[in-house]
Amino acid sequence: MAERVVLQVGTVKGVYRFASNGDRRSWSVEPPLLPEWRVDSMLMDPEDPDHLLVGTSHEAWGPTLRETRDGGRTWKQIPLRPPDQPGEHPLRCIWQIARAPQPHRLYAGVADAALYVSDDDGASWREAEGLTRHPSRPHWQPGAGGLCLHTILFDPDDPRRMWVAISAVGVFGTTDGGETWTALNQGLPPMTMTGSPDEDAMFCIHKIVRDGSRADRMFMQFHAHTMTPDGTRSSGVFRSDDAGGTWQAIDRDLPLKFGFPMALSHRGELFVMPLVSDENRVFDQGRPIVWRSEDAGETWRRLDAGPPDEPVFSGILRDAMTLDAREPTGVYAGTTGGDVFASADAGESWQRLPARLPRVLCVRAESF
């Protein structure tokens, strides 16, 4: 049994580390690391709680990657792009850091949308230009959060297969290690309001996750949007059983379809946390609700995550919900109001962790 769970919470003002013993009921929190910096993304080391990579940014000073190997006492900065090597597109923010199946290989997804790769555990980086050479690239349009590459998924059995998601552009997949990419949006409702004239590049994907036990099954939280003047809305949660080739709506029983985060446990539990709508990105009636499906989206169970006696008039961003790998599954959700809600039993019961933080951007958990 794991002795300890560590939860790292990235906010607009630093990263906060919570720790719990094995019961995941009692939590401590430490003073923030990097409190002057916006922490947009994180990658924890499952072997070492003191080793952390973070993507930081600042309104004035811009983005860099940072790494600590001593729990935040010292940091090393790693620019993705040297200042004397201008790229074709501005580098505004590091949205995602992901470890690939290949030894020592990391990927970073950034805004403006591009994919960077490192083959030395993050010490040096280069742009994976195969994606940004896609013919639709001139027509990529940003969502409200910018033109961001926010999700990177791998096939652990075939390192040449990868998927990325870009807002408000779509899903792209590669089967040749990133040399060429194919748009994978069939079955999604196109969004002409992105302004893109390209039918391969008008889909606002909020998050995708991949089923580790069933190679070609993926799930998506899509930007459910108003389709007609009378308020008809598109679906928001989708499933693909052919590695993104086609998508089918699975949100018939979800009363709200708009949302950002999505998480999938290795046991197949799928979690979403819907918000009212794209016009009103907050929890409905001040009640943070998590929905869980254990049958690939056929049915959903409502789980009240917030306190029963106090409304929570905030929302949640796409990387602010995560799971641990314990039994039963631990679920963690950080809000735009700075609350962190945690469940040690797959969402059946919840507690609010003991701190009010700045606006939460990303949450990651590991057991040690």
Partner: protein, 92 residues
Amino acid sequence: MAHVTLEVPRVLRDCTAGRAAVELEADRLDAASDAIRRHWPVLATHLFTETGELRPHVLLLHNDRLTRRLQRPDVPLAAGDRLTIVQAVSGG
């Protein structure tokens, strides 16, 4: 070459091994920018855009004078001059 001092705000001092000020050899303002890129590349990442201009909310003062108003990059520097990196006051 003039010996000038570059003053670094606290939030960026991990780019200069913790030092509040570093020395540069440069006889013009544009040469000082080049020297920052050459000797302090991580610091330069925080100061300059991909196209080589100062980031929009970053100010560089020359002996307490705003260099943005100097219009020209070939402003001469003299020994003992100070360059100061400042975050612009902006926002609400």
